[in-house]
Amino acid sequence: MRKSGAAIRAGNRRLSPMKQLAIQGALLLVAAFVLIPLWGLVRIALDGSIKSVPTSFSIWPQEITFKVFEQVWKTPSQSLSFPGLLRNSLLVAGSSALAAVVMGASMAYAFARFRFRGREPGLIVILVGAFLPLVALMTPLYVLLESLKLRSTLFGLILVYTAFALPFCIWNMRAAFQSVPAEMEEAAFLDGAGPLATFLQITLPNALPAIGVAALLAFLTAYSEFAIGWLFVENSQNVTVAMALWGIITMGSYPWSQLAAMAILMSLPVVIVFLVLQRALFDRMVFGVGGE
């Protein structure tokens, strides 16, 4: 992001120490708000003294141990180890994000570049689709997949998550294509490239980072989805991390430490990706959704 001269000048100005202190204090309070629930999770996961539920109040773990993490890594569910669950999660989330992007790309391009009859209503349909909650597609997909005998398979799950991600990805990719300057395309056109070649060689590479962000968001949604999966999948080999986590909760008297450890294991990869890609997300996502 280009920094304006004014912003640089402003950066040199000094705050009075009192104001600096007040602002840092306020930010510290927010930090406490942010960290309390997360720390609670970490504490419970690390505390070896908790047998099933925590019974006394403490800020620090009574006896620090990684035993729970080990246990969760080996046998998080009845049938699969954590790597097995993770494999399912990555497969389902990755395939659905990829499928949504691949199937939606050309349509997004058409909406970004061409004027055609039915474009406006089409955009509205896509936007409504992008805003649908996953639950809104659950009922019909359940029956459709059941009749195709796909309901309990990983492929079925991929279909469900793709159906959910597709309108969202089309909408975001459209914005990505629109942000590529039309002059670049016109130049390629003048050099004699056809529409497909122009799209593949000029527009697509330039829009790729933004498309990546759209795919990432679709991936994350599928990665942390458990509710639909829990209702659809009965085959214990096809369980994802999120579903296994929900499985522990629905068992009733669940051990809190295991739950916390598994939640942390599940979040770590995502959090790392998020923090690494912070800048790209920050630039792309904030205004990725807007009008024309």
């Binding site: 950066g11 930090a31 009922t139 019909p140 597709l166 942390s224 916390a260 979040s267 996502m285």
Partner: protein, 713 residues
Amino acid sequence: MNKKFLLTLARVLLILLIAAVAAALRLRAVALLPVDYDEDDYLRAGQLYAQDLRRGDWSVLTRENYRTEHPPLSKIVYGITLLNLPDFPLIPDRPTTAGPDTTLPKAPLHAARNASALFGVLEAALLALINPLAGLFVATNTFNIKYTSQVMLEGVPSFTSLLVVTAYLLWRRKPRHIWLVLSALALGLTTAAKYYYAIAGIAVAAHWLVSAYRAQEAPWRRLRWLAPLLTWGCIAVVTFFLVNPYLWPDPIHRLAQSITYHGGYAQSAAVTSAHFPFWQPLVWLSMSVPWHPGVFLLPLDMIVTLLALFGLRRARERHPVFLLWLALALGFLLIWPTKWPQYTLLITAPVAVVAADGFQAAIAEPLAAWWKRLRAHAARQQRQARGHAALSHFWQVFPWLLPGLLALTLITLFPLIYQLAMAMTDFRGSAIKDGINGGVWREVWMGLTGQVAAREVDIFNLGGGRQVHYTGLNGLINVLFGAGELYVFELVWTVLAVATQAALGVAIALMLHRPGVRFKSFWQTLFILPWAVPEFVAALSWSQVVEPRFGFLSLAAKSWSQTAPGSLPAAGWQENPNLALIVLLVAGLWYGFPFMMLSARAGLKLIPEDIYEAAALDGASGWQLFLQVTWPLVFPLLLPAIILRAIFAFNQFYLFTVLNTPVITLSALSYYIFSDGAYATSAIINVVTVIILIGLVLWFNRLTKATEGVSYA
């Protein structure tokens, strides 16, 4: 001259017609409604007056006021009504919490009900005088019909409170003293009939003061306004005492006793055990009277409330006093702990006026504009011709659309259509075989082609059996118009969630935007954390904080209460909808503020520094600078993010499932219902969700187009 006469005649006839509708609906209710709570109380109060008045003993008015917590005017009206009827055994004195007394004698009950209904009719007719449509809305309002057609205290004050406002408005238009006196008299009567309704008077006074303050006059000239206001207030107070003879012997003590009762009552078990959330008044507004099926013929209430939402902006210009009345009364109802359904009569009239404005703004004017456009034929053809020139050739675009169109149709649109079909059946767990093997399509096809009739359906219990049946739009209509409670919660939740998230996000962004603040990128990275965590895990980490028995908070409260006396109410929030909402808002705030913070930071970076310097030169500072410079510039940039978060909050699901709260969103409800096997009901809720989302998207589209022209580069 002649035309004017005809117009006046038409107007008078219209008002009479509306009064007739109001009267017919209320007479029907008088005859059909069963005896309700409290009717025995007020009938007894009237009877006590009537017995002594018949003997010429007028002192009973100063002696007697059965149910002293409410002032006596309505009860006196009932007493006068009963004067000409034969006496009947005295109705027993029972506690307020006692159930309905079904043994009440018919004749006096109906006479008293008729007297109350008369005031309901007068209210509708008076409002029709101002705005016929609003009059019609009051005439058909089911809560108004019910509670003015029973021996309650609502009839008289709901009429007189409207008179307070109407007379004041007439005075504003043509300052004759008679109107002012009438308004003051009406306020006195209102207060002597039921205290709460005096809010109309507060609204009048507030409007009066605000318009005096706004008038660009020298301060001493403003005092000229004060004199009539004070006179108005004095007349009202005097009237209140004159028509409240019970106060005469011992004014201060009896008045204090009567008023202080209400605060205690609001804390009593009778009220708190009802477990109404603070937004319950909105729930009452969103529905017709749910009891007594078959009594109310024109239940327009939900549509009226919806129209009122659309009329707010227009009402601000056209009917500011009514809007003020509505805002004050609604604010009071939301705060006041007692949430009985009859309290909605406090706002029936202003809601009707605002709804009439909404009808103009959302229906009448767009229709007129559309009609105008239809007639401007030539212009339309011209526009079409221009449009054609810009269109790409269909076959040129088609290949690009094909893959996406196929996929979208197969896995998103087709399921949605299938869902609509399911919503028109009673498809459920026990009939899953039939449904999967084409039963849904078969039934819908036969239903739409008229081969089978639509069945009545109970959406809460779809029944058993192995076959799917066609139910038409019955289920959909049931949910669409019968689920006010859900919509109101969605509204309250979405608005509060987005407001809190935006407030915290913008506040942090402003702090981080200050030049010279240390550790900016550290803080920002830390604050992004909640957003990076999957929502499921976010909900889990809050659940281990607020879990009623073993949660962090409840354990902390326990260890606190061991060292200090008294206990903290950390547990039990799951039974209390208000506390549950707070817990949800806090968790939602935690998860949602980073997004708003990032959006606000991006927006703030686009504001040129020079503007601040210019504003600073003008002497603006701190809060002023924010309100007058920063916020107006940032808000349009923030709008897409706000709408995005609003729709996200509207759809929020994982938070509700994991925290297991008593109040839920449509999508969470749909999920629970689906997992119980009531597929059709779940499909119906989803169809409703889609309908609401379409409305939101159209609105969103209009808003963002309106902000399109804004640029700061």
